[in-house]
Symmetry: C2
Subunit: 689 residues, 2 copies
């Protein structure tokens, strides 16, 4: 090592000598300038600061998000154009309507799955597991990246027929890039700080993923925090904030450069009356909306978990999913797209609108049933009118209420079916749109009941059903994902904050129902996918304070004394395949002094074997074979005692992302607790024998 | 115990017997109803659920906040009325102008300090210390409550002359109530969950405190989280959210009932153009505004910390502060109110406006210098015009720029001086207003430079200086408090979110400066007040990964072996006054098995003494006197190893709110680390020898 250094130094000196011979003007000025530049470089690229990586992460994700949006909108326009061009022939129109999504979905599934099986689904449940401290190898490798990008673009291009979004996959994409950047960084900066930095980058990545989809930095950070972790550091919050702001800023800036907008504004612009957003008695209806969203959310979560499990149990679908995933996707797409064909049932489902148009139309400022009753002779135009998107919902016979209710009922099961498809797809945006539809239905009903507004003091302030839609969206999506920051997302995405208190009320009520009755969407997926998972202890389970570690720990552990020799180690290592073993002071006292890793032990055995094979002179050194001397024993910084309560142990596991802890009693090791035992203990709390 | 139970049972039976004799109709129906009510009660008042306490906390704080606002506004109106009534006599007007704040401030100081010395200042630094795990007794007792409420009301009634706010004291008040409610709750529910619940309640209380001042639930939660802690649990975030929403809702509702407003809207309503909030090139000026706010923030933090220290060092002021606090307050108030007298320098300071009016006027939609140049013959009316508050800033000779710059310069040192007063007062609102003034000045300057707007494509979009003010406020206050959620506070308090990205950009830039160069306002106060404090490790201090615990631990510890007798314990206990001592297996092995509390040891000594005095027959039981048998040894769940890095140890201290940890090496105890050693090690990092 030091020799290499000396050689390098010499080379450096030689180089300097060579350089000295070349004449350059103003040596003093140049030295000063170079000196200053060097200082600037040191200041900017100091190890430990990783603002540059966070910035890069934000910008890259914004570029990807913008490019994907751009491609998808071109694809959707092409489909719309095709539908128009096909003119009179209904069969042709039907075929073009169904072939497009079927082909895209089948390709998406096939392409993504052929590259890597990890690219399916949203990615948030897996990332949540990773952030809780479990190592899921292969999940963040960069080769998933292409599969996810191409697959997701195809999925989104299938349009509102498939009713899928992009939030989840973007979180996954973002964390892949963060992991990649992190590796780049480590190669520069060395690895003292490797582990904790990796975690920090992933947390920021989740925020960037959300914020580049909606252009919403604050709620991006908060949503990712709420959904991903049980604890978080303020440090990470700031870093997430910075990265998310860079991402959102570039994302919105690109929209301006692309002449979509004149200046940086919200993604889904609304135009509600701000001076008098709502009448006080309407709070009652907002609360009802919260209850409705909460109940439908519970029903949805239950059905969704059930269907995800059923598809895996059922022999036909499980066979299809195992052997021929694209076929399964194509069949589901055929069913769904046949239903949404605009000339059959699709006319009641506003199926000609894209996801973004659906949301914009639901947030419309007008009261639909009044507008509809004023001109009842509305004829559906063959083209979607971009300034009157809501006309897609208008159906004189079926009424507005009919179409909205039909939409809610049909999309309920169609969306659940779509979530079983093994392709890259996000499930947040559909939930958000679905919630907006619920809100719109409630709002239109209230507007029908009180056409003159709920008169306070004789002033007529008509009810704005769009405001209800705008509350239903965060309430329902918050209920499904167990988060309250969806409220903030609604503010940021629409540039509207006048309804702040009712929205939060609505979200809290909806959350109260689902948090009490169902695991969240992401937790549900974790359960169904059987990923490692530490259940939450509900605050009503006060028994968790009374159950001690002694009652649920695993007392069956294999320990190695410090003076262990070849035979002892061999016996222990063949008896189990743990990754590390506790080392005790001696067999009698059983006092825990540290742990030793499995590879260390294998190495120990190997060197020992060579000792055994060695001649008698070398055998004299056999005493070196003692475990305590030959292996490096890692210290145990954390141990549970037999009296630690389940609640406390759970708290520590969550806080420190522990996977395993040893249990000691007066220093003696008496057992161990892994996530498995912890999980069982918590489940026993909820279902006492 | 069981006898009491039996008697109670018997009494119960007797009562039932007596009750049976009384005839009541519909026994079955009644039983069913009672049964259902009982179930409902069990469901609602289940132990472990504390939503009711959170709800109560929110409502109580909202009532206090509203009542205080109401009283303060009446007091301020009275003062304004007095000023008018005094008519022509300048001297009388001057006297009434200065006597009012002097009297109020002196009373506030005297009253609060006479009840308890803890009621002075904001309270956030102390609460931050408490939340980091340090026990500051007396600080949360309910007797501080009255002192703080009355004192704060007087402080606020002194008006914008004293330039003080109410956020900090409200956080303190809220946490006092939370602690009180917590004690009530514990008396009902038992204390299994006492400790952790207390902490949870305090976190929620901080959120409620902020949100009931501004009617802003989301930023209330986030601001309190950012300012108070280094880590936080999502669980607490939800609970804080719930309590803060209840508080903000009731607070705004009361304003409606009091006919201040027609419906629930923002506290400081603005009326900026939303359709085109700003032109893209303006981002450049927003960034400059961020830099300006950051630099002024640094200067402010430095001067503030210096003056706080100077006042304590200087012999005159320190004597005054020690013996005659009200006199000190009165003198400062005399100086400040003389300067702000509206007929002298006060006319350039808009000193006739209240704090709330100051903020509203700065957020004004008009471009002042244009309005001023259009009617240059503006004469100052003797009354404040509530619809043209900005006229208070208008001074034809001095121009708008002059008054704003003068305001910024004068309030800079006057506010720093006001923070040294030992009375209940908040320092957030003044900082917020100050930031708005900086923003307004920058905005007016930009509007002067580009009177036609920064034309993009020939469309004229005039610059809105109010928008700059609205960004300066969160940027400056965020910089001073080291938080980014002030951006959200600006959105929530004004009901305006169109500028979201520039505001966040501005806040982040301003924060970058102060976080790099100065401790935050609250940390600064903690340092000056010498409260226990664990400094942050900056990410650039990568040496923190290389310094091991062995290098900074305190190796000088007193241990007790398990078999310790009277003499050993006596020796150890007289040699130091630690609150707990480590217990080792035996003196030779030094293996750490647990700790024992000081009171336990004292008890052990007492019983032992009685043994010694006892007769020979009782002496046979002397073996009971062994420490390991006589005292309950508490297990050590957490220990550092000699190889633990400073960074990791710091992280664990922060995460687990540790005060002390023992250091072991292969199970042997070799030292201990307290916050003192940790702090020293971190300081050594920053200033290597």
């Amino acid at each position: 090592m030091s020799r290499v250094l000396v050689i390098e130094q010499r080379e450096g000196e030689e180089k300097t000598l060579i350089q000295k011979h070349i004449f350059r003007p103003f040596p003093n000025t140049r030295r000063v300038v170079i000196d200053h530049l060097q200082r600037l470089k040191n200041f900017l690229f100091r190890i430990g600061d990783d603002w540059y990586f966070l910035f890069a992460l934000g910008v890259i994700m914004a570029l990807i998000s913008f490019t994907m949006d751009f491609t998808v909108s071109k694809m959707l326009n092409a489909h719309r154009w095709l539908q128009q061009e096909l003119g009179g022939n209904v069969l042709l129109r039907y075929l073009s309507w169904i072939v497009y999504p079927i082909a895209l979905v089948a390709f998406s599934t096939g392409f993504a799955q052929s590259i890597t099986p990890h690219s399916g689904g949203s990615g948030i449940p897996e990332l949540k597991t990773i952030l809780s401290g479990v190592i899921l190898e292969e999940y963040l490798t960069i080769k998933n990246f292409g599969a996810k990008v191409v697959g997701l673009t195809c999925t989104l291009s299938a349009g509102s027929t498939m009713f899928l979004g992009k939030v989840g996959p973007f979180v996954h994409l973002s964390s892949m890039i963060a992991a990649y950047l992190g590796r780049m960084r480590t190669s520069v900066a060395g690895d003292y700080e490797n582990k904790s930095k990796e975690h920090e980058m992933l947390v920021a990545a989740a925020a960037v993923g959300v914020s580049t989809v909606f252009g919403a930095p604050i709620s991006g950070v908060l949503f990712s925090v709420e959904v991903m972790s049980s604890h978080f550091a303020i440090r990470n919050y700031w870093r997430g904030f910075f990265a998310a702001t860079c991402g959102a800023f570039v994302f919105r800036l690109l929209a301006v450069f692309n002449s979509e907008q004149e200046t940086i504004t919200a993604v889904f612009k609304t135009s509600f009356k701000i001076s008098f957003p709502f009448d006080l008695p309407e709070m009652f209806f907002f609360a009802i909306l919260g209850v409705v969203c909460g109940l439908i959310g519970c029903a949805y979560l239950f059905c969704q978990r059930w269907l995800l499990g059923y598809v895996r149990r059922n022999s036909l679908t499980s066979k299809l999913l195992a052997s021929d995933k694209p076929m399964y996707s194509a069949l589901v797409a055929l069913l769904i797209s046949s239903i949404t064909f605009p000339e059959s049932l699709g006319q009641f489902l506003a199926s000609r609108l894209t996801m973004k148009e659906l949301l914009t139309s639901l947030f419309d400022n007008r009261t639909w049933w009044i507008s509809l009753s004023q001109n009842s002779s509305l004829d559906r135009s063959p083209l979607v009118d971009p300034n009157n998107l809501w006309l897609e919902w208008a159906n004189p016979q079926f009424t507005i209420f009919g179409t909205l209710a039909f939409f809610i009922i049909m999309k309920f099961w169609m969306f659940i079916l779509a979530t079983t498809l093994p392709m890259p797809a996000g499930y947040f945006m559909p939930v958000f749109v679905f919630g907006a539809a619920i809100g719109r239905l409630v709002g239109e009903t209230v507007a029908l009941l009180y056409p003159e507004g709920i008169a306070a003091d004789g002033i007529v302030n008509p009810i704005i059903p769009g405001g209800y839609a705008w509350q239903g969206a965060p309430a329902y999506s918050g209920a499904v994902t167990h988060s309250v920051s969806t409220a903030l997302l609604a503010f940021e995405a629409t540039g509207q904050i006048a309804h702040i208190l009712p929205v939060i009320l609505c979200v809290l009520i909806a959350n109260a129902f689902t948090q009490k009755l169902q695991p969240s969407f992401y937790d549900g997926t974790i359960i169904v996918k059987k990923l490692p998972y530490l259940p939450r202890i509900r605050s009503r389970d006060i028994d968790s304070y009374k159950v001690n570690t002694e009652e649920f720990m695993n007392p069956d552990i294999r320990v190695l004394p410090r003076e262990a020799g070849f035979e002892d180690v061999l016996k222990v290592i063949t008896a189990s395949d743990d990754s590390e073993y506790p080392v005790v002071d001696n067999t009698e006292s059983q006092v825990l002094v540290g742990t030793v890793k499995r590879p260390q032990l294998i190495h120990f055995l190997e060197t020992h074997e060579s000792h055994e094979r060695a001649g008698p002179t070398e055998k004299e050194n056999l005493s070196e074979g003692n475990l305590g001397e030959a292996c490096s024993i890692e210290p145990v910084t954390f141990q549970l005692s037999t009296w630690t309560s389940l609640h406390q142990a759970h708290h520590l596991f969550e806080l420190l992302h522990l996977q395993k802890a040893f249990v000691t009693k007066y220093g003696r090791i008496v057992g161990q607790v892994t996530r498995k035992e912890m999980k069982k203990a918590i489940e026993d709390l909820a279902n006492p024998k």
